[in-house]
């Protein structure tokens, strides 16, 4: 059987799960109180998080416990905990539902994380379009403040923590962690070059830890039930449950919280299977920045880092874009290229210039004016962007496209040779 909703979504079936009383009736903020009472030391928390084997849920999959241990809690000066809820990756919409159904888990997770790294202030950067989640989260902060769980000298512990919400303005690049920091600072959202990394030079130049929403919202349960419990839910190289956003050509798209390593087949079934009785063509497993996996490989893989890597792609943020057999892959690439062209911050040369080039060549191919050398040019230009840019956006813009050409070059060739799609009846 497929286990569902054991962690972030555990309250989803309850009325008004976003209210503090519901959260507290289900054991919420107990961990936070223990932390404040000194019953749970920061070192012990980091040990539990390491034991849980939770890897960053924003897409990069960096071990969270390790990331936290980079921060020197005792170092003097201001430090920050920042939650990345920008969730701009096409195909991803899991963090939105955490805000809607379980915002207090995130508040508690951020407060604990802040305590562990010695940050007395936190920022939650919410995607600009998420007005409703933004309101709910703001409300959650107010509730926590009224309950005395947030603010100065919380529960007489001597510890201060304050939480701010920052609503973005719609730029994809602000999901890149250093661009996000720039954006919070009121500057143009564009990535910083690294090093220095945020752990030494972050928000307002202070040491900062940035985690994804799902990561932080998982912390209270990890600490409540123990790192081992979380680890055992998952697979060897990745513990716990994972939220998967399933979209595209399925009957019931949505978010599903299942265990790491759940077979893709089962997840597809939860989403009602491929729509209109059609067959699966391929799937993008981790959001638009990950490589396309053809059906035959996808149906054999499990939803965890290693299995998807074996299938030739990346788990990313767990955002499945399912495509049925009638999908024109060239148009898919064109659509994605348009997105990256539009969302490039424009700062560094290869991404600023290269994404537009890719898009225009694809436009021309779809217009029926493709040339045989165009396909090699797409691969070549992609290669020239890859690795030469400041942040991951430029690299990401090439990944799905390159994999599409690898798997479906004949569809591109058909456009070039016949001036139309392989699906167009002549």
């Amino acid at each position: 059987m497929v286990y569902q909703n054991e962690n972030c979504f555990r309250l989803n079936d309850q009325e008004r799960s976003y209210d503090i009383d519901v959260y507290m009736a289900n054991g919420g903020y107990e961990i936070w109180k223990k932390v404040l009472a000194g019953e749970l030391e920061p070192a012990e928390i980091i040990e539990q998080v390491k034991a849980s084997n939770i890897r960053g849920r924003g897409g990069a999959g960096f071990p969270t416990g390790l990331k936290w241990s980079f921060m020197n809690r005792e170092a003097p000066g201001q430090k920050y905990i920042v939650c990345n809820s920008d969730e701009g990756e096409p195909g991803t919409f899991k963090d939105r539902d955490i805000h809607r159904y379980n915002p207090h888990a995130l508040v508690e997770g951020m407060m604990i994380a802040g305590y562990v790294i010695g940050a007395s202030e936190g920022y939650n950067y919410i995607r600009g379009e998420f007005w409703e989640p933004y309101q709910i989260f703001k409300n959650a902060i107010e509730q926590a403040r009224e309950a005395g769980l947030l603010g100065k000298n919380i529960l007489d512990s001597g510890w201060d923590f304050d939480l701010h919400v920052h609503l973005g303005a719609g730029a994809y690049i602000c999901g890149e962690e250093t661009a996000l920091l720039e954006s919070i600072e009121g500057k143009k959202g564009q990535p910083r070059f690294k090093p220095p990394f945020p752990a030494s030079y972050g928000l307002y130049g202070k040491p900062t830890t940035i985690n994804n929403t799902e990561t932080l919202a998982s912390i209270p349960m990890i600490l409540a039930k123990g790192g081992k419990w979380f680890n055992d839910l998952g697979v060897k190289n990745a513990g716990g449950t994972k939220l998967y956003s399933v979209s595209g050509h399925v009957n019931s798209p949505g978010n599903f919280e299942v265990r790491m390593g759940t077979p893709f087949k089962d997840l597809l079934e939860l989403a009602g299977g491929v729509w209109q009785g059609r067959k699966l063509k391929c799937v993008i497993p981790g959001g638009a920045s990950t490589a396309i996996i053809p059906a035959e490989k996808a149906l054999e893989m499990n939803m965890d880092y290693d299995s998807i890597a074996n299938a030739g792609s990346f788990l990313g943020a767990g955002s499945m874009i399912v495509m049925d057999e009638t999908t024109d892959i060239v148009k898919v690439c064109r659509n994605l290229s348009h997105f990256y062209w539009d969302e490039s911050c424009g700062q560094c040369t290869p991404c600023r210039e290269g994404t537009g080039w890719l898009m225009r060549v694809l436009d021309r191919i779809i217009d029926g004016k493709g040339r045989p050398e165009d396909i090699a040019a797409l691969k070549d230009v992609s290669g020239k962007i890859m690795g030469n840019v400041i942040c991951g956006l430029g690299d990401a813009a090439t990944i799905a496209l390159t994999s599409a050409i690898d798997h479906y070059e004949h569809e591109f060739m058909h456009y070039v040779e016949h001036g139309c799609s392989i699906f167009d009846r002549k």
Binding site: T349, W357, R360, V389
Partner: protein, 700 residues
């Protein structure tokens, strides 16, 4: 120290130095666009990507700190592939309009493309076109050519301290522009032209006049403020086409003020005087030098024994000023002066104090506290202001005692209230005197406020500090008193006291004693004289221009050594002798630090104009004065240096405290009204700084 290997060469470097600097030091070329040694690191152009062992992707040399044992290749196939990739990307949307681009021939994109670009582009899609911005009269924009290196943006933020340009928009549509359509008004704006690696920002006055490879470069010294910035005069066919900065780390670094960059336009002004002119029966006649000089000498000889006033612009060379005072004294006139904007000459009774700054220009950055008395330094001496700005960024406290709060480009404390400069400075001086137990009689009736005490404390605690008197103080009715108060403050706070020379050669004018030892000063002469001998001066150079003009008109005889033929000059002169302007003559300026900076002639003077020192030499001979047989400016300079004037100890000045607030009597001078040349530079005259009413910060 760490050891780094670049292309097989082992180099010692400081840990944390950026790779590009280490490579530059070893003369290993790495292509770059966004990197500039005077600006922060952006790492956005990606042109300097190099191959670092152990890194899977190429790293930007400008943003990669060196570590011990690092092995770098700037020319491996991987590095070259990355560099060529970036080059191709930079060129796809570049218009490649080099044949009609002013940057052609001195374009960094063109140069680097020679090495890293392909002959033919394989990009066949539509190219980006970007609307041009109106950036004002000095900078011409062609934003389609922009490669988004953001050097201009960083210059504004980091150096000029005026965030006038920024990047708006995303992706391909990211644009460099002024946020709201407005001109670029910084007094240092021209530097963006130099910084722009491509033809996106070019010089509007220079635009479309010459191809840069046709230009001849001459070393020169800037002629419009006492900094003595090093410049290159670029000429074609003996015509000055433009002026650009020449790097000198101790003085102007790589920068140049707009005033010194664009004033060259007046060299080619329509109203240049190109022939000697004499007035015959009220009619002006062009004539030859012999005749004109004969008329001049005869006229002046007739006036000998009466009051002859001899005045010159402080932008004249040391040699010119020396010869002119020598003639004046030779024909028996002690009425010699250049201080046309000074009002209070009461300090002269005790002697003269040579203005200047003992602290080296570069060391102004190291000051911990500075008090400006009567100075809008930003417009008076822009380069010095940049150095002071750097000091403030490192935490220096700057206090300005001014008649009004000006718009400085850094944080400072401006004391500019209705009490007036005298009272405010006295309060500060009193606080310092109290702290040091100094019973200065001058300050007996002054009380220090709490703010004064805090400020005095800061000055006393500062390791390096300066009290400087600027142009506004020098044209103040209570100048002597302000100087004495400043001297007291400087003494009790252990600060350097500096009277800032403003014009290019005020220090030189003092050195050659171009001052009225027992004669009339500039203000007295402006009330009327029997005859005048003027050099490079106009009525507009005086605080009361109307009065000065009237005095010239009423004089019996006026010999005018001038580069310009104006209606006004025709009205009051009897002889007009055409003289060379700064790029047309050899000579020496003595700068604010007392550095004697000699320069050669860059271009021939226009028409029959001659270098003023040559004209004066002949005049000296015609007056039969001894010692006028110079053949070279060096000989004149040697004579000057052999007999320097003494300086006055400012602490011994005579001055009484006054209760009146005379601040409102100060006549402010806009930076582009300072001398006859800038007044005739058309592009500068179109900017806000051309007059006091529109000057940036002038009306706050």
């Amino acid at each position: 120290m760490v050891k780094v290997e670049i292309n097989g060469q082992v180099i010692e470097a400081h840990e944390g130095d950026m790779l590009i600097d280490v490579a530059d030091g070893a003369q290993i070329p790495i292509p770059r666009f966004c990197y500039h040694k005077k600006l922060s690191i952006a790492a956005n152009c990606r042109m300097c990507l190099v191959d670092v062992e152990g890194a899977w992707k190429p790293l930007p040399a400008c943003a990669t700190p060196v570590t011990d044992g690092m092995v770098v290749r700037t020319n491996s196939p991987k590095a070259i592939a990355s560099q060529k990739s970036v080059m191709e990307f930079l060129l796809i949307n570049h218009p490649l309009d080099c044949p009609i681009c002013d940057q052609g021939g001195e374009c960094e994109l063109q140069d680097v493309a020679m090495d890293y670009g392909e002959d033919v582009s394989r990009y066949t899609e539509a190219k980006r076109v970007v609307g041009d911005k109106n950036a004002g009269p000095l900078i011409s924009t062609d934003m389609t050519r922009c490669i988004h290196c953001t050097r201009c943006v960083r210059f504004g933020q980091e150096v000029a301290g005026m965030m006038e340009l920024g990047a708006t928009g995303r992706s391909e549509w990211m644009e460099i522009g002024t946020y709201v359509e407005k001109s670029i008004d910084s007094e240092m704006s021209g530097n963006m032209i130099d910084l722009c690696p491509v033809g996106a920002l070019t010089s509007k006055p220079f635009r479309y006049t010459t191809r840069t490879w046709e230009l001849k470069a001459h070393q020169g010294i800037a002629a419009h403020d006492s900094i003595g910035s090093h410049i290159q005069v670029h000429s074609k066919n003996d015509k000055v086409m433009r002026v650009v900065p020449h790097e000198n780390e101790d003085i102007n670094e790589v920068w140049l003020s707009d005033r010194d960059r664009f004033s060259y336009e007046s060299i080619n002004a329509e109203d240049r005087l190109t022939k000697p002119m004499i007035k015959v029966n009220g009619e002006w006649k062009a004539t030859d030098w012999e005749t004109a000089l004969q008329v001049a000498i005869e006229g002046l000889q007739k006036a000998v024994g009466n009051d002859i006033g001899v005045m010159a612009s402080a932008n004249s060379t040391t040699e010119e000023l020396h010869l002119l005072q020598k003639i004046a004294r030779g024909i028996g006139s002690e009425n010699i002066d250049f201080r046309t904007r000074q009002v209070d000459f009461s300090a002269d009774a005790k002697g003269f104090h040579t203005p200047g700054l003992a602290t080296a220009i570069a060391d102004v950055e190291k000051q911990d506290a500075v008090v400006m008395v009567g100075s809008y330094l930003r417009k008076e001496l822009p380069i010095l202001n940049l150095r002071l700005r750097k000091a403030t960024l490192k935490g220096a406290k700057v206090i300005a005692v001014n008649p009004q709060a000006f718009k400085f480009n850094y944080d400072l404390e401006q004391i500019a209230d209705d009490n007036g400069m005298v009272a405010n400075l006295a309060g500060l001086a009193k606080a310092a005197a109290d702290a040091k137990g100094d019973n200065d009689a001058l300050l007996a009736n002054v009380t220090a406020t709490d703010t004064d005490k805090v400020n005095a404390e800061a000055l006393i605690n500062a390791k390096n500090s300066i009290v400087m008197l600027g142009q506004i103080a020098q044209s103040h009715a209570d100048y002597a008193l302000l100087t004495k108060l400043a001297a007291s403050l400087a003494k009790n706070t252990d600060s350097e006291l500096s009277i800032l020379p403003i014009q290019a050669n005020e220090v030189g004018a003092n050195l050659v004693n171009f001052l009225p030892a027992n004669g009339k000063n500039a203000a007295q002469m402006a009330q009327g004289m029997d005859a005048f001998l003027l050099m490079g001066l106009e009525a507009a150079d005086f605080t009361d221009a109307t009065q000065a003009g009237q005095a010239f008109k009423n004089a019996g005889f006026v010999v005018n050594l001038t580069a310009f033929d104006s209606e006004e000059a025709r009205q009051y002169s009897d002889v007009m002798l055409p003289i060379a302007l700064f790029a047309e003559t050899a000579g020496t300026f003595v700068n604010i630090n007392g550095n004697k900076q000699s320069f050669k002639m860059s271009v021939k003077p226009q028409g029959d104009a001659k270098a003023a020192w040559k004209v004066l030499r002949v005049m000296g001979n015609m007056f039969n004065l001894a010692g006028f047989d110079y053949t070279h400016t060096n000989e004149v300079l040697r004579e000057v240096l052999d007999n320097r004037s003494t300086t006055l100890a400012l602490a011994h000045l005579d001055a009484e405290m006054v209760s009146a607030n005379n601040d409102s009597k100060v006549v402010m001078v806009a930076p582009y009204q300072m001398d006859a040349m800038v007044r005739r530079a058309p592009s500068l005259q179109k900017t806000p700084d051309a007059n006091v009413a529109t000057m940036v910060g002038g009306q706050d």
